[in-house]
Every structure is written in C-alpha cells, then in structure tokens.
Subunit: 257 residues, 4 copies
C-alpha cells in the first residue's frame, strides 16, 4: 500500500543495496535476504566476462531475484560512463544504470558537469538513469529536467559513514523537487541516518558500506530495513512540532478526554 | 531472544508508552496496539477515584493488557512524590513507580536533590523505581547505587520533541553505567531520535508526546516501534567506523571475494 | 604582518562588507568604519546612472576609501552577468567583479554551469573574478583552474544567517585547494560563524545581512571584525586536539615546569 | 564601558585564565599578557609551601598583577574542598575560591551534591565562591540562591576541547538566571567556542587547556581574547534572526535608502 515507483516498476522495499565489500558471498546472500531489498547495485567492472570470477559473481547476484542496477563506479568522464553503460545493456539486458562520474578522488563526489552530460546522453539512448549526485539543488533540478529516473544525492562522502552532513540542503531538495524520485545514496553509517532522511520524505535510500562493513552485516541489513520503514512511516504520520520549551506530557489538571 | 529485564520481569518490547494527550480514547488504544508496548505510564492524578472519569480511564488502560507504570508527574518535592507513590500502591496494587520530581517549571527537568531523596525512600519502601533524571552521570550513578530499577535520562525537555541535545553525555552514561538499566525518557520527537539513542546501547525508550501529538498517532506509534528495533539491531550489529574521507564502496580493481 | 593577497593587491582586513539593507546611509558609513573593511561590494544595478539616486549612492561609497567590488546580484544567466560586468568596468573603472549567477530563486544558490561559464569568459576579458559558489569541491576546483581571483563558497543560503551548514565540506575545500584564495561568502549570521570558518583556514569572509540587519549594525560590524581576527589567529596558533574524555587542566601531582 | 562585576570588584576583561600545562613559565607569562586576563586561577596544591617549587611558582603568578583565584581541583568531597579553601585564605590572603568538587574521574564533572554543600558552607565562611558546575539549571539556581559569586557551568568535559555540547541548556541557563553571574568554565577548544557562549549572554569564560596546549599559546591567548570580545559585542548588538530561506542581500529593485 506504500509502494513507490521508479523507472516504470513498482517496489515495496525502499532500501537499495550494494553488493561490494562483504566478508563472503554467503554473507552477501544473507544480508540481501535480511534487507528485503528488491534492487541491487553492482559495479560493472566486476560483471565483465574478462574479469576472472565475473561470471560466477554475476550468476550469484542474478540468483538473488532482485532487479539489477549496474553502476559506473570508477568512471571519471561522461564518455567512460556512457560507454560502460552501453556495454552493460548489451551484456546484461537491462537499461537501468546507476551513473557515477567521479570528479574528485578524495571525496569521490560526482562531477556536476560530467554527470549532467552523461545523464542527458543516456536518457536519449533510452536508459533509466539513477544519477548519483551531490545535494546541489540546481544540479539536481537539471538532472530531473534531463529525464533521469531517480536523482540520488549523497548524504556524505561514499564510505564515510558520517550520515547527513547537510540536512538543510536535503530538506530543500525534497521540498523543491516534489515530483522527482529522490534516493539518498552514499554516506550513511547507521540506521538512524536512514531514518533521518526518510523522515524528510525521500523515496528511498541506497547503502553498501554501512551494511557490508558492519561487524554483523546480516543483522545490520535488517536494522536498516526497519529504520527505512520507521522513517517512512514517520514521514507519513507527520511529526509533532519541535518546541523550544518543555510541556508536560501528563497534564496535571483535568481529564484529557 | 533479545528480551530485556527490568524490575524483575522480562520484556520483549523496548518502547514504553505514555497515555496522555491522545485525540481520543480509541486512538490511544490503537496506538498502544501499534506500538507493541508492554508498559504504559499514566499520571497518578488521573487515576484517582475523586477525579471524575478516573475510574473509567483506569479500566480502559487496564484492558490494554500492559504493565502499568504510574507516574508522579506534577510533584515538586520528594515528599509529594513519595506520598503519591504510596497511595498508588494501595489503590492499584503495583509497586512500580515512575518517579518525577520536577525542579523547574520551564524545562520540567528533574530536581536532582528531590529525585535522589525520593528514590532512596521508595526503594526502602519496596518500590521498583523508574527514575526520571537528566543526563548527569554523577546523579545517574547515585540513583543506580540507591537501587532504582531503571535510570531514565532525558534526551531533551519533556514535550519539546527536539531529540538528543547532548549525545556525548548520553554515550558517556551508557559507557560508564554498563550494569544499569538505562531508558531514555523525554524529549524525543521523531523515530530517528529513538534509533539514535538505541544505537548507543540504551535499553529502551519512553515516549508520549511524539506519538500522541503526531498528526497520525497510530502510524507514528508503529514508526517508533520500528525505529527502536532498528536502533537496537544496529547496536547489536556494530556500526562501521566513521571515516573522514570517502572510500569507494565498489572497489574498481580485483574481485572482492 | 598577516596580510593576504587577492587580485594583485595586499589587504590587511579579512572582512569584506556588503553595502545593502542598512537602516540609513550614516549607519552604513559608520559600520564600514567599525568593520575595518578595505573591500566593499555593491550591487551594480544600484550604481547605474539611470537608477535615481544611483549617482549619489556611488559617490557616498567611493568616499569611504575602500576597494570597490561591484557584484552581479540578480543575474540568472552567464550572458547577463558578463554584460553587467563589462558595463561596470566601463562606468567605474574597475576590473574587479563579484560574480553571482543565481540558479534558484529560493536558495539564491549559484548556478554551477552559468557560474563556470561566466567565470571563464570574464577571466579571458581580463577581469579579476570573485566567484560566488556553493561548497562543491569539483566546481570550486574548476573555478580556480579557470583563473578566478577568489573562490567564494557559501556557508548557507544568502541572508539566512544560519551559519556553516556543512563544515566538513568547507574543511575539505580548504584542504584540497591550498593554493586558492578562499573567501566564505553568504549565510553567516553571528560573529562565531565567522570565527569558525576562519579557524578552518579560509582567507577571508564576506558579509552583508548579518551586519546590516543587526539591531545595532555598527557594533555588529566591530564584533565581526574581531571575530574574523580571532578565527584567523586561532588558525595560525593551532588548536588543541579535541578529546573524547576529560583531562584535568590542573595536574594534581607534581609541578608542571 | 562594558565592565562587569563579580565578587565585589569590577573587571574589563571577560576572559579568565588558568595557569597549568604551559610549556614554560615564560610562555605562561606571555600568554597571560596576550590574553588581557585580570583573573588567574591556579591549583591550590601547587601553591602549598611543602610542594617543592610552590613558592617560586606563586611569586611568579603574583608578579603578573592579576586577581588570584585559587581552585580546589582534585577534591572529591565537600569536606576536602572546604578545608583546602580555608587553608588558601590563610596562606594567600584571598577569600576567592574556585570550587571544584569532582564527582567522576572520567568526565571530571562536578558532584552536584558535594558542590552545593561546599558552596553553602564556604559562603557562610565569607568566601566569594566561583562554583564550577554542569549545565543543570536546577543545580545552578540552587548555587545562585546559596549566594555564590559566580555560577560556572561547563561547556564540555574539562580538557576535552569539544566546545559547547548542549547550547540549548546553556541558553536556558542564561535566560532563566538573568541575575546570576554566569561564566562558562571548561570544555572550550577554539576561539569560536568562546564567541558562541558569549553571544548567548554569558558574562565571561574561563579557559586553560585550549590556550596552554595550543601549538602557540601566546597567539592563542590573543585569539581567545578577541573571540570573547567579538561574542560579547555580538550579544550586545543583537543578531539578525535566523531564516529558513535565502533572501537577497542586494535588493534588485529600487533603492535602499
């Protein structure tokens, strides 16, 4: 009843999961199951036949029964990303692509220019583009106007686990782009971080490191699944106003009903 | 399997709920059901026979099948609180008491002196004392040493919905009082707030206004229930370390397994 | 002795001031004097002869004896901004320009695309470009590589007075662009905000609303002047490391020397 | 013209300085001079004749021409603190005492009970008590009611350099105790931290580690002196209101005057 829609399909789960850095294939399988994720993202370079083990890995991922969202991690130009996406479509039969055009090797933040250029080209080529971006509203609006399937702002640098560094900017994104599919992608470290952004009204979150590098990835996958639902329900329920002063929850005079 | 223990009983739910300020009795019933709470706190003054409707309210609460935790909200001295607790035990047959000795009418914060004095007296009288307190470590340790069943620090002033104002102090409390039952009581406004404190290792949270004054209390009760579980699981799973810099979640060289 | 260099000149003051929104011309004059500012920014539209009073305003500003930094506030395209800059050079005999190409009317944030395009064109035209931008590292590096005189990231939306919304991003900018002149422009509200960014090693700050809309602009100008110096000295002195735990400042055993 | 009054004297400087942990006596002298401090606090144990070098240290401090504020650092009970204070009055001819009754060796936070007890006794003995305390409003009010000369809440644990951990609590203290002399004591690390609390209206700040353990204590002393003044001026000037949205500092239509 609280399904969401992206790239032409309907999803129940609002948690998208990455497939890297797990301690073992079995842990990956179990974490995916525990997360309830219906979309998995995987680095294209790992799926390519020439990379030893790529085929086995791909089959394992395919067996999990989720939508595959190949990503262009490691690309530094629009050209590289577009080429990789085209190849992915050929090999794996999906027109979904998680676009990453990295503009800085220290923050791994997207290059606004390359990201917008590649997005526009890939949309024209018929791709459903999930565009990894910063929390820049102007860039996000351009990506949305270019026709991407989802705009995916970071909360913090990838793999930093720091959680939302600029909640004001994220809130503004949501308020100003009410019609865009907005997914927070990158920088979350704890379940409460996921709940925070879902409470703002984001459509979903995408995680990898926070689950894979937890001491117990399977349990952490379940934790994030619950946190995403909690945040979503909290958004729908409507939070009480924040107040500057205290107010007794138990009125001491009279009856409440 | 992740039960906890307080005042001699075992509980599955880590969410304790207040019973005030709901828009209607029916919403209260439904919110309690949605929350999965096994402990309900209720203002003693509302339970007293002389307050018209007190009897009906009490029967309604009793019908919900939860442990009753009467509270001394509105008391300003140890004496008042102790007398109210004694009366409550007489009338309702429970030796549980949520002790509130308010020291300031603006913040509704506990009076450290009155709270410690009343705690000591009530423990001697055989009560299971759930002591509402600030995030002061020295006071919390004294309360624990006095034998209270649970030390219940605030996150922020009651009814403010501001969420944790001093996470450093809460973390210190948990680390320095590993054997105490610690429940965050007061000041939470959103599900993510509950997840934050559960991630620190608190045993449970107690809420009222955040649920009762949500636009949709029943849904918000469910949201908090999930957030508490998410935070608890996150604590057990062990979060990734926070990093200053980015780190690719998708390694671009070699295979992960 | 702690002078800094921008656009070919040497400045002692690290506080640049805007000239709008003051309650009266006299208060503006006095605030400029109290601030010690050596650079004043002024909206070009206000300087144009056709705007009634423009000439008088310009003469008043000129009489303050500061470097004039005309700005392109209100421009929404690179084209508009470049044209305005060209006209300003003609009329006022300065090749300094504070470039603002607004990309969103709600946040008044710069348009990354228009800002970079206009910067490149203006640099080619021989301007010293002071480029107002967000805290996006990739964009900032592009602006620096394009040859702007100063990269001027916001701390928060213009006129919001919220102070630094993403200190992590600002710190990263400073660390990753050690050779750029970096000036925080927009969003500061209190003296402590200015000190915070100066402590990170920014070269200067640019303010307007925080001074002009203070209850006492002249005193607030003095407050910011001191805060900028405090933050700068703090940066040069090198702050103590932040610690998780307490450590007695007065050792209780032995002598310190 | 902006002097303040404490313990019967009038002071210009709002920065009180500790005398421990400096790299050398000369650096201490120079830092005191750079800070403009008129009050120095020093651990009583270091002033006692039996501690080798105590006499020399005391003469050095006395030569700096500041008011001496002996402190009871290291005391764990009211009894110890009172005895030390009595001895100090005897030896050094001052009835000023900075009262520290530590309640926890990890946070070095004051013991609320011992601090209040010792304060009351020392006030009766004729001391001017500068009471180190937490940000607990009820305790602070009790100390004020007991007649202490200054209530001195921490910003964070001593020596942690973390800066204000709970600005909401500090703001509440100031608002609710308008007649008390309130000095932030402990936990500041950077000049901006001092400005933050002065902006709230605190009367002064007391520092030690942030200056003494800076890479350049003399310069850092000057930085804090400026930050304290900046924050004070900012408080007096009255900050602009914080806004949720942007607002052009340069109006693009019409003239401002």
């Amino acid at each position: 009843d609280d399904a969401w829609h992206v790239a032409g399909i309907t999803l129940r789960s609002r948690l998208l999961l990455g497939t890297s850095r797990y301690p073992s294939p079995q842990v990956l399988d179990d974490a995916v199951a525990a997360s309830g994720a219906q979309v998995l993202t995987v680095g294209l370079r790992r799926l390519q036949p020439e990379s030893g083990g790529g085929q086995a890995f791909w089959q394992r991922i395919a067996a999990l029964g989720c939508h595959l969202l190949p990503n262009t991690a490691g690309c530094h130009t629009a050209e590289q990303a577009v080429n990789l996406a085209l190849m992915a479509r050929e090999l794996f039969g999906t027109s979904w692509i998680k676009l990453e055009v990295v503009g800085d090797d220290y923050t791994l933040q997207p290059d606004p220019f390359g990201t917008l250029e590649a997005s526009a080209r890939l949309v024209r080529e018929g791709f459903a583009v999930f565009a990894y971006t910063t929390d820049d509203l102007v860039l996000a609006r351009r990506l949305h106007d270019a026709g991407v399937a989802a705009v995916m702002p970071w909360a913090a640098p990838i793999g930093s686990g720091r959680g939302p560094q600029n909640l004001h900017a994220l809130r503004t994104l949501r308020e100003r782009l009410p019609d865009a599919v907005l997914v927070v992608d990158a920088g979350l470290g704890k379940p409460s971080h996921a709940a925070q952004v879902m409470e703002l009204g984001f459509d979903a979150v995408l995680l990898n490191t926070a689950v894979a590098e937890s001491a117990d990835p399977v349990r952490m996958a379940a934790a994030f699944a619950q946190a995403v639902q909690a945040g979503r329900l909290g958004h729908l329920a409507g939070a009480m106003p924040e107040r500057d002063t205290a107010r007794a929850s138990t009125p001491t005079v009279g009856m409440p009903f």
